[in-house]
């Protein structure tokens, strides 16, 4: 589904990813773990197409198509969703307006009919209920004055509404208390499907207790240095990343 080959990415002339390769087949959840500064978030941003993230070499195919041929919003419409570590505040734009505008923009790009207002509201109401989001909150400007936990729940709500084919979760557990972590994880788990892939970027093992990965990759200094099953996450939790830092240097 998502196939990354020998990817090198620079930000502000600084090389961050140095020949990273990774395959995530449909239906699987892969975790990327690594120390701070390893390039975990850079991977998510580069895949989504953030400006100033320069692709130096390598390629990414997404469902057989060259991902880098597409603009940011075209990648979104093709089904790539990045859940932000720090979701942006959008002053003056009610969350409902933002959601509907985004959904219809994607539908338009895919040549589908736009969703009607009643259908949209019905769908949002269902999703908000499962994510314990108050409808009143959705009438407020998106993320403005929301707590860290509320912002992450909004990310999951958008994800559930947009129904992307591939999810990248960037440090989705940061800033969440135990209860919020459970709500958010349940929301993500509900989206697990045979035709959907996920890349879970995290520093800590605890998120993976809730979202169980099929594969775990250790990212250090811009490269995947080790891959394994779920047990690898537990090992990292016990021993830390120190053992890999030497290898990467």
């Amino acid at each position: 589904m998502l196939s990354i080959k020998d990817l090198s990415v620079a930000v502000d002339a600084k090389q961050i990813l140095k020949g990273l390769s990774l395959d995530v087949p449909a239906g699987e959840v892969h975790a990327i773990m690594g120390p701070n500064g390893a390039g975990k978030s850079t991977l998510g941003y580069a895949l989504a197409g953030r400006p100033n993230y320069q692709i130096k070499s390598g390629s990414v195919t997404f469902n057989g198509e060259d991902l880098f041929e597409k603009d940011v919003h075209e990648r979104a419409a093709a089904g790539l969703y990045l859940s932000f570590q720090y979701p942006l505040e959008i002053p003056g734009v009610p969350a409902l307006t933002f959601l509907r505008t985004a959904l219809n923009a994607q539908k338009k790009l895919r040549g589908e009919d736009e969703i009607s207002a009643p259908d949209f509201l019905k769908r949002v109401r269902e999703l908000a209920k499962t994510l314990k989001i108050d409808m009143d909150m959705l009438k407020r400007p998106l993320n403005v004055g929301f707590s860290g936990g509320e912002k992450k729940r909004m990310e999951v709500l958008q994800m559930a509404l947009l129904e992307p084919k591939f999810l990248i979760l960037d440090e989705t557990d940061s800033g969440l208390d135990i209860d919020a972590l459970k709500v958010v994880s349940d929301g993500v788990n509900a989206l697990r499907a045979p035709d959907r892939g996920m890349l879970v970027i995290t520093h800590y093992q605890r998120l993976l207790d809730h979202i169980k990965p099929d594969r775990v990759h250790v990212l250090v200094a811009g490269r995947i240095v080790r891959s394994g099953g779920p047990e690898l996450a537990l090992e990292l939790e016990a021993h830390g990343y120190d053992q890999y830092l030497g290898e990467a240097a």
Partner: protein, 488 residues
């Protein structure tokens, strides 16, 4: 939500300035240039009372002694006042005006601009949709005013000011120049000397005007200045909501628009005055466009009177405009809500003055400036309190949004208080349209243009909400169109 969608579609589909066409019509001009004879010519054309001519001539004499102001943060090639026509009117036969006698070219022009001049067209609209009466001013004259008779039934006078001078001379004489005296400033003096038309509104005591009133200004002729004069009086306990819109053809030379608007609100009266200003802004290099040098002032003369100015300024090459409120009556309220968008080489120096004279007077200023391209936008505002204005309160919020790296934004607030018993608050922010916000919105599926439109709409939302509903949608589109191509 529908409005946002519409904005986005508009952004994707339209030319930058859609009103730039020229109407080919036979016109009558005053001789080029300005002198006392031209002033007399205009007055005679209008069959004005003698006192009006005297007032004009006095204003002209005064103007000759004045100098063009240069304190605004705008830079433009000065106007050659002898190279302008001061009167241009579509030729017509004498006699009463009816729609059938109006040149079909003119009717076509307004149809193209989407301005309903036929009452039945407005009436044929959706049931329950708000109706509004229109005064259409083409270059120097009012060509038609709709719903005049129906308004008259409730006692409301809505007509061209030239007509008011003939039909209600005493009423006009009582108020004209009482808010903006002929000596007020260079452009106001010029306007008083040569104004040719504009709208007159009188709402009698206790009457709530049954519909929105609007004036639509169109500059068409070449080398012609437009000097309209608007006078609105809300008598005790009256209410009126008024909207003006303006467009002009796309021409290479600059054209001068120097209007004066006077509002008078007596005890317990309320006037809402909204402007959607879309004069031709010139091309991207700064060639052509309208000089919009306008004096707008409201006198909250009565106790508990209230005036709200709401403006959406997207057009003009150079704007010099400060709709103000003199809060003379005790407990009177003044409001100013502004969205000013500059793009390309546009320059705007705009803001307001809130002059607190009465006790417990309140004012509120919300200004949203958006600059893109190589443009420059300045907010200039004065809030002052007279020694007697105890309990005066003002809240001012000025937000500026910069798009790109070559535009400029300035905020110049003046605060003067002669009493310790006034409370003034001022907040100001300047932000750049954030790349991160754009990326976030695009990651959710919005194209760059859609993302800019959405973010800008969010930025101006609290001011848009102050506009009458149907114009809010219009204004939202206008803002988006004005910013087309401003990113990337």
């Amino acid at each position: 939500m529908a409005a946002v969608k519409e904005t986005i579609e508009t952004v994707a589909g339209l030319e930058t300035y859609e009103h730039g066409f020229v109407t080919d019509i036979e016109m009558e001009f005053a001789p080029k240039g300005l002198n006392a004879d031209v002033v007399r010519f205009i007055s005679a054309k209008k069959n004005e009372p003698e006192w009006m001519l005297e007032m004009r001539l006095a204003a002209y004499e005064r103007w000759l002694t004045m100098e063009e102001p240069d304190w605004a943060k705008v830079d433009y090639q000065k106007v050659d006042y002898q190279d302008l026509y001061y009167y241009a009117a579509p030729k017509k036969k004498d006699g009463p005006k009816s729609l059938d006698e109006i040149d079909p070219e003119l009717l076509k022009t307004y149809a193209k601009l989407g301005i309903p001049l036929r009452e039945q067209e407005v009436l044929a609209g959706v049931v329950g949709a708000p109706r509004y009466a229109v005064d259409a001013v083409f270059d120097s004259v009012s060509v038609v005013t709709t719903f005049k008779d129906e308004l008259k039934k409730s006692g409301v006078i809505f007509c061209a000011i030239s007509e008011a001078l003939r039909e209600y001379p005493d009423l006009v004489r009582q108020y004209l120049g009482s808010v903006v005296p002929v000596s007020d400033n260079y452009f106001a003096a010029l306007n008083a000397a040569v104004f040719s038309d504009g709208s007159f509104v009188y709402v009698p005591p206790g009457v709530r005007c049954p519909m929105e009133l609007s004036t639509y200004f169109r500059i068409n002729a070449e080398n012609t200045g437009q000097f309209e004069r608007t006078l609105i009086i809300a008598d005790k306990g009256a209410y009126v909501s008024y909207l003006e819109g303006c467009t002009a053809p796309q021409r290479d030379e600059n054209q001068l628009h120097a209007a004066v608007v006077e509002l008078v609100a007596l005890d317990d009266a309320e006037i809402k005055y909204s402007t959607v200003q879309n004069w031709y802004p010139g091309d991207a290099e700064g060639k052509g466009g309208i000089y919009n040098f306008v004096t707008k002032r409201a006198d909250c003369r009565g106790a508990r009177s209230k005036v709200s100015w709401t403006q959406v300024e997207t057009g003009s090459a150079v704007t010099w405009k400060y709709p103000s409120c003199i809060l003379r009556g005790d407990d009177s309220v003044g409001e100013f809500y502004s969205i000013a968008v500059t793009n390309g080489a546009q320059q705007a120096d705009t803001g307001t003055k809130m002059i607190h004279l009465g006790k417990n007077t309140k004012s509120r200023i919300i200004s949203k400036g958006i600059s893109a391209g190589r443009s420059s936008a300045t907010y200039r505002g004065l809030v002052s309190a007279h020694a007697k204005a105890t309990g005066a309160r003002n809240f001012t919020q000025c937000d500026s949004l910069l798009i790109g790296k070559t535009c400029a934004s300035h905020t110049v607030p003046y605060i003067e208080s002669d009493t310790a018993k006034a409370q003034f608050e001022h907040e100001a922010t300047t932000t750049r349209l954030s790349e991160d916000q754009l990326f976030y919105a695009m990651q959710r599926g919005l194209s760059q243009e859609e993302a800019v439109a959405l973010l800008v709409n969010g930025f101006v939302r609290d001011v848009l909400q102050k506009l009458p509903m149907e114009f809010a949608v219009e204004a939202q589109k206008l803002v988006a169109i004005s910013l087309e191509g401003s990113v990337g």
